[in-house]
Structures are given as C-alpha cells and as structure tokens.
C-alpha cells in the first residue's frame, strides 16, 4: 500500500475552442480523504471530473492515480484501475433491471464476478444503498433518487479505490440527504477515497476534510473546509459581489450561483 | 506547361467540388440531415441539362439559371414531404440522423431508378463549347473554363447571401444554435426547409455545370455523393469557408494524382485524404464538432 496521495492532478488543462474550461488545475487527494470540489456553475468542476475519469482527453497536464499516469488512458482502463464515478445527470441502464445494472459493475472489473456470486453480491449492494427488494424492477422506472442510489451501487460494484461523485446529493430532501451523507461516510470508513463535486453546503461541511474551489476554470482556494468556505474570494465567486458577511457561505444550505 | 494544366484542372475540379459540397453542407449544417441522395439528384440535373441541350437546343447556361429555382423547389418539397415526418417523429437528436440517412439512402435508389428507367446505364454527354482555349501556354477546354467561372461566381453569391442578408443570417443562426434560434424569432423548421432548398439550387447548378464537360451516367450519383460528403466532413460540417478550402484541396489532390500517378486511382486518393484529415483533425480542417 503506497503512502503517496491516491490522486495527484498536475497543471491539468482543457479548452473547448476559445473557452478554457480547466486552467492549470493542480491538487492532491490523500488516501481515505473526502475532498470537496466546489465552485459556481460553469467553473469547470464537471469537466475536471471528466478529465480524471477519462471521459474527455486533456490538452495538457497530468493525472496520476496511485503513482500511475492515467491521463490519456481510455476510460475503461481507468475504471479497471479502480476509479468509479457517478454522473451529474444520472445514467442508469434503463433497459435492464436494477440487479442487472449492479451485476454489470461486477462483470468487467479485474477479478470480475459472474453468475451466482455476482448476483448475491449485487443483491447485498442494492440493500446497502437502500434499494432492497427492487432487484427485478426496470431501472427506467425508478424515481430520480432511487436511480441515483442505483448508480452509486454500480460504482461500488467496481470495488474502486477512488470514487468521483458528481453532485450526487443534489435534489434530496433532508431525510434522504442525511441517509446519503451517512452512506458516503460508511464508504470512506471502509477505505474509499472520495472526490465530491457539490453545491449542497450541509453535505460539504459534514463530509469534506478539505476543499478545492474553482472559478472559471482556475483554482481559487484550497484548504480545510471551514477555512475555505469563509475565504472572501470564495464568497465573492459564489455570490458575485463584495459581500463582507462574516458567515460567508459556511453554515448555509446550498448557495447555487 | 503541365503545371498550368494541373493548376487549371485543379481549380476547375476544386471549384466544382466546393460548389457541390456547399449545398450539402448547408443542408447538413442547418437541417442536421445528411442527404445521401444528394449526388443522385445532381446527376438527375445533369440528365435534365442533357435533354434540354440535345432535344431543345437550349444552352446549358440558360439551363443553369432555370435549374436554380427548380432545384430549390424540388429539395424544399423533399424536406417538407419526406423528411418533416421524420423530424416530427424523432425530434432533432441522433435518432433523426440515423433515420434520415436511411431515408435519403432509399431516396437515392428511387432517383437512381428513375434515371435508369429513363436513360439506362450508359454514359451520356453532349457537346458544348468543346474547343480549346489557350491559357498561359496550355490548352484548356472552354467548357471547363466556363464551368469553373460559374462555380466560383455562384459560390461567392451564396457566401454573400448567407452572410449579408437577413434570410441568410437566420439560416446560419439555426446552423449554429438550433435550440436558441427560435428565441430570436427564427422558425427552425422553415429555415431547415429553406436550407434544403438552397442545397437543391446548388446541386442542380453543379449538375448542369458538370454536364458541360464531364461524361456522366446514372451510377455516378454515388461517386458524387461520396465526394461531396468527404468535402463537407473535411471542411467541418456547416462551415462554409471550410467547405471551400476542402473542396479546392480535394480538387487539387485529385488532379495531381490523375496527372502524376494514375487517373484510375482518384477515388483511392479521395479516401486517403479523407482518412488522413479525420485522423489528424477529427473535427475537420477548421474544426466545429460534428455530433
């Protein structure tokens, strides 16, 4: 087990035509940490996630996962190395059942499971995310929240070491939010490292050890959650004006820019 | 001397390819429909010019101007009658792309069938301005020169039409941003139909121009469709300037290969160029992401 950071992002850059979505982004994530990747809409957070997971190729810079350079690798190889993710707009396999959706996660990873072993593990996983007894339901018929849970179960089936959650806690009512936060804490306690792209500040406070804040593609702050969220630059980025409110955005629910 | 041949030959062919492809790129860029029947309609226009020239003694130049409104009307009708139901059924996403490719593929066979039924599979040509003209020491067929001049002229007119008129701007707005064009009062469906019409005018013109100097047969439709598609993709779909440059490039490469390598390998040259461009610059020479 290496002692270095699980993930290291170095000067990562991605431009779409004239728009630089991610501009020389650098940060590290240590084992077992939950890092918040924050910023107003359009700041480049999702693009950064896409670059890390291999969904998009970067223009320059490096992404190093467990000491291994993964930028430029095909997404499926990165997934097999132990990086799993959820998507901002939930992507479940609608033509398949919930059980099959999770079995898919088990089928293609190294040391993959199939048949009865996969089925048993999948059922267990569905129970863990709160979808017990829905195994044979078509994924296309799930509610939005349940679909998110299914997506997480699928990601977990990959037995990842790094989990990228893209606004996974968005749109939840207070009870569901607490359940979701508890689930992520469990995952971290089981050894997972998590990068959380979030707007829900309650969750950020509860979960994140450290935060990285982006605005217009650039990292504008990094550090412990409390300190970052009271940083005046961060406040300005979210609220768009020179607000000298002492609380900053700390302690408030969701400042959606 | 040979260099001038190649230059003129390249310009003529290039200009023609550019003109042909312009119509297709307008159709694809605005209506988001890849019209595989494009080449076949072009050949049909060539046949039309042939009939008018041989049966009625009409000069192809006159046919050229007649072809513009006829071509416009025909393709506009094709869009309204045949393609609109598909648009309504699938919306404007990738399903439309597939369905429309298939439908226009079928349409190309329909038009091919009409051409074959009427004219058979032979090569046709008629004599028009078939005397050599001396340009910088090399002899060029007058009909090729005329075709080239018209190709460039029409390209310029279309460019101005699309960039300087309100109609043209509306059409381009849809190409750039079909979702937001209605917000500024542009009717996307009407613009798509008009774009198809513009494409129709251009392909009719190209067909007439080609008939002036190139022997053609019904089965040549596929070849022209292919070349137009290659130019459109190389130039970046919907990108007018890209289309022009790519058309000229294709024309020159083809002429060079025909003169210095082997005239029987032109299609191979087209495809090699196509593959090279796609592999090196996947979004076309001037980039603009194709969905």
């Amino acid at each position: 087990m290496s002692d270095g950071p699980v993930l290291r992002v170095e000067a990562l850059r991605k431009a779409f035509g004239g728009l630089v979505a991610v501009n020389e982004l650098s940060f590290e994530v240590g084992r077992g940490e939950i890092i918040g990747l924050l910023g107003p809409n359009g700041s480049g957070k999702s693009t950064a996630m896409n670059l890390i997971s291999g969904a998009l190729p970067s223009d320059s810079g490096r992404v190093i996962f467990k000491g291994r350079q993964i930028n430029g690798m095909a997404a499926h190889r990165i997934a097999r190395l132990g990086v799993a993710r959820t998507f901002q707009l939930v992507r479940v396999l609608e033509s398949m059942t919930c059980l099959e959706n999770v079995e898919v996660g088990f089928a293609f990873r190294p040391g993959g499971l199939s048949g009865n072993a996969a089925r048993a593990e999948s059922v267990a996983l569905l129970g863990r995310v709160g979808l017990a007894r829905r195994e044979n339901m078509a994924a296309g018929e799930l509610t939005y929240i349940d679909a998110k849970r299914l997506e997480l179960a699928r990601a977990m089936a990959l037995a990842p070491e790094l989990l990228l959650l893209d606004e996974w806690l968005a749109g939840l009512n207070p009870t569901e939010l607490q359940q979701g936060i508890a689930l992520i804490k469990q995952l971290r306690d089981a050894g997972l490292t998590v990068i959380l792209v979030e707007h829900v500040m309650d969750a950020v406070h509860s979960l994140c050890d450290r935060c990285v804040v982006m605005n217009a593609g650039i990292k504008i702050a990094e550090g412990s959650t409390a300190r970052v969220l009271s940083d005046p630059h961060v406040v300005k980025a979210y609220l768009g004006d020179d607000d000298s409110d002492d609380d900053g955005v700390a302690g408030r629910g969701g400042a959606r820019a | 001397m040979v260099l001038t041949d190649v230059l003129v030959g390249g310009l003529t062919l290039g200009g023609l390819y550019a003109l042909t492809a312009l119509g297709l790129t307008v159709q694809y860029g605005v209506a988001r429909i890849l019209n595989l029947a494009y080449g076949q309609f072009l050949i049909a226009a060539a046949f039309g010019a042939f009939v008018l020239a041989t049966r009625f003694g009409l000069s192809p130049i006159i046919t050229l101007f007649l072809a513009l409104p006829v071509g416009f009307a025909l393709q506009w009708t094709v869009y309204q009658l045949l393609l609109m139901p598909l648009v309504r059924r699938t919306g404007a996403g990738p399903a439309l792309e597939t369905d429309s490719i298939l439908l226009t593929f079928g349409l190309s066979f329909l038009v091919l069938g009409i051409c074959v039924a009427a004219f058979g599979g032979d090569l046709y040509s008629y004599s028009y301005l078939a005397y050599p003209v001396d340009i910088l020491g090399s002899k060029v067929s007058a009909n090729r020169l005329v075709a080239m001049v018209f190709a460039f002229a029409m390209t310029a007119v279309l460019y101005l039409l699309l960039t300087r008129t309100r109609l043209g701007t509306a059409v381009r707005a849809v190409a750039v941003s079909p979702r937001f064009a209605p917000l500024v009062g542009v009717d996307v469906r009407a613009a798509s139909a008009i774009a198809f019409g513009i494409g129709g005018a251009l392909l009719a013109a190209s067909g007439v121009l080609i008939s002036m100097f190139l022997p053609f047969s019904a089965s040549l439709g596929v070849v022209f469709a292919m070349k137009a598609l290659i130019v459109v993709i190389m130039g970046g779909a919907g990108n007018l300037m890209g289309c022009l440059v790519a058309g000229l490039l294709l024309g020159f490469v083809e002429t060079l290969v025909a003169s210095y390598v082997d005239p029987g390998l032109t299609v191979a040259a087209n495809f090699t160029l196509f593959l090279l461009v796609l592999l090196l610059r996947p979004t076309g020479l001037f980039g603009k992401t194709v969905r």
Binding site: A79 | T98, G106, G113, G264
Partner: protein, 309 residues
C-alpha cells in the same frame, strides 16, 4: 423461458434444419433450389449485418464491399487452388480490410463511419479495377468452377447455422452483456470497464468475414464476374432493408425480414424489371416510415401491450 418451451423450440429448430438440409435432394425444382440459395444468401448477409450494426447502432453500408471481395477473390483464384484454400484466402483478405477500415473509422463518430462505409465498395471496386487494368491486364474473369447449386446451398446453410450459433453463444456470454450495455448507454459502458472500441472492431470484423465468405461461396453461381458485378451497391441496400424490416435485436429478426423481401424482390424484378430500382427505393422508404423498429420491434410492442392488459 420454461423448460418445455426450450425443448419445443429446440425440436422445432432441429426439424427445420433437417428439412432445410434435405430439401435440395427432392426432384423437380431447379427454380426452387435457386430461390432457396437466394433466401439463404440474404438470410446470412442480413444476420451478419445485424450482428454489427444492431448493437453498435453504426449503420454499415459496406456489405457490397465485402461480398464483392469474396466473390472476386474466387473469380481470380478459383481455378488455381483447391476450394477450401480459395475460401480461406478470400476470408483473409476480407478480415484484413475489415481490420484496416475498422481501426481507422470506428474510433470516430458514427456519422463518419456511415460515410466511409458508403464509399467503401466504390473504393475497393476502383482499386481492383486499377489493379486488373494495369497489373494483370485482365478485367473480368470467367468462372468455371465445378460447384453445383446444391453444394452452394449446403455451404450457405452451414454458414447460416454457424452465424446463428455464434450469435446465441455471444448473447449468453459476457460479450453479450457488454453489447447490451453498449446499446443502452455507451458512456456507462466505458466507465464500467468495457472496452467499447475493441468490441466494435471485433463485431465489425466478424460481420465482414461472414459477408466475404458468403460472396465467395456464391461466386460459382456466375459464369462471368467483373468488378461492376461483384461490387454492386444494390446488395448493401437490400441487406440493410431486410435487417431493418425484421429487426436487429432478435436472433431471427434479420431472417424474418429477409424472407418476405427476397420473395417480393423476385416478384418485382420479374414483373417490373425496368422499375425495379424505383420500387426498391419506395419499399425501403415505406419501411422506414411505418416500421421503424422492424417487425421484431412491432411484435415486442404488441406483446408488451398484451402483458400490461
């Protein structure tokens, strides 16, 4: 599917196969044998087409290219090599070209692939013609191979059974699961560790290999083959319609589309030879309009309707 259904289906398939195999031995039907060969030809081609274009949703217009490669290889080598050898060479060439095309175009978006496949037959035709004109100086070959229609029939039948068998095995395997995922959401597929590029390539090569073999097996039916005949784009078109009509998701879908259309085309080409292409085009357009998901898709919808009622 219940045990009984599986057993019944199996018995049904076996009897159908037995009948199909024995049919050519019956007397008095050269015409029927010929029709049988045509049915098998398009059945195999349509199934092979659907094997790739179904799961990947890439519309391939390249059937004529690979069919032609098979047919023309036989025309060139048929008399100088034993039959098995010729088939192997044809297969090799088809696979090599499929690999080349696949590696260069499958990584690009679907639209580029369609365009490339559209022109592929034309490209191969031109290269072959050029080669024949300049190198061998012998464009168009006479085919004098001693293979009877019956033998062609049985070879095609074997090919069809093999293709269907491969399809069934594939579906049940991990590859089949991967295909279902790709068909549902390709982005998800890549993020659960599925190498979509390699799978697409594999399917494409497999499909092309079958088409090449079909062309090769059928070549002795002609007495004269030239590049125009071998690489006729019409076959790409017909195979496409058949697979779409029958539906590309079910095992017997393409076959179900091939049979009625082969019969229809027979009738049309005999009675309206001058307007055949027009009718072909119209038929196709009608299918796109009215049966967008194929007959299999229609059946599925009917079944689902019944179940929910």
């Amino acid at each position: 599917m219940s045990r009984l259904t599986v057993v019944l289906a199996g018995l049904g398939a076996c009897s159908a196969l037995a009948i199909a195999t024995a049919a050519p031995l019956l007397q008095g039907g050269d015409y029927w044998l010929s029709l049988g060969v045509t049915l098998l030809q398009y059945g195999v081609l349509a199934t092979a087409w659907a094997m790739f274009s179904g799961p990947t949703r890439y519309v391939s217009l390249a059937t004529a290219a690979f069919f032609g490669i098979g047919a023309y290889t036989v025309a060139v080598l048929g008399e100088s090599m034993p039959w098995a050898g010729v088939l192997l060479v044809a297969l090799g060439i088809g696979v090599a070209i499929a690999l080349l095309v696949g590696l260069s175009t499958l990584r690009l978006s679907g639209v580029y692939f369609v365009i490339f496949s559209f022109g592929l037959a034309e490209l191969v035709k031109q290269i072959v013609t050029w080669y024949e004109v300049n190198v061998t100086r012998d464009v168009g070959r006479h085919v004098f191979i001693d293979i009877s229609q019956r033998q062609i029939y049985w070879q095609l039948l074997a090919l069809l059974v093999s293709v269907l068998g491969v399809w069934v095995l594939m579906r049940r395997s991990r590859l089949g699961l991967a295909l279902r995922v790709i068909g549902d959401d390709e982005v998800v597929a890549t993020h659960v560790g599925i190498d979509t590029s390699r799978i697409k390539l594999m399917l494409f090569v497999l499909s092309a290999a079958v088409m090449t073999l079909t062309g090769a097996v059928l070549a002795p039916r002609w007495t004269y083959i030239d590049p125009e005949i071998a690489f006729n784009p019409q076959i790409s078109f017909q195979v496409l319609i058949m697979a779409l009509l029958g539906g590309t998701t079910r095992l017997f879908g393409p076959l179900a589309g091939a049979v009625p259309l082969v019969l229809l085309f027979e009738v049309l080409s005999v009675n309206f030879p001058n307007y055949f292409l027009i009718l072909l085009g119209v038929t196709f357009m009608a299918i796109i309009y009215f049966v967008p998901n194929g007959i299999a898709g229609l059946l599925q919808r009917v079944m689902r309707h019944r179940r929910s009622v």
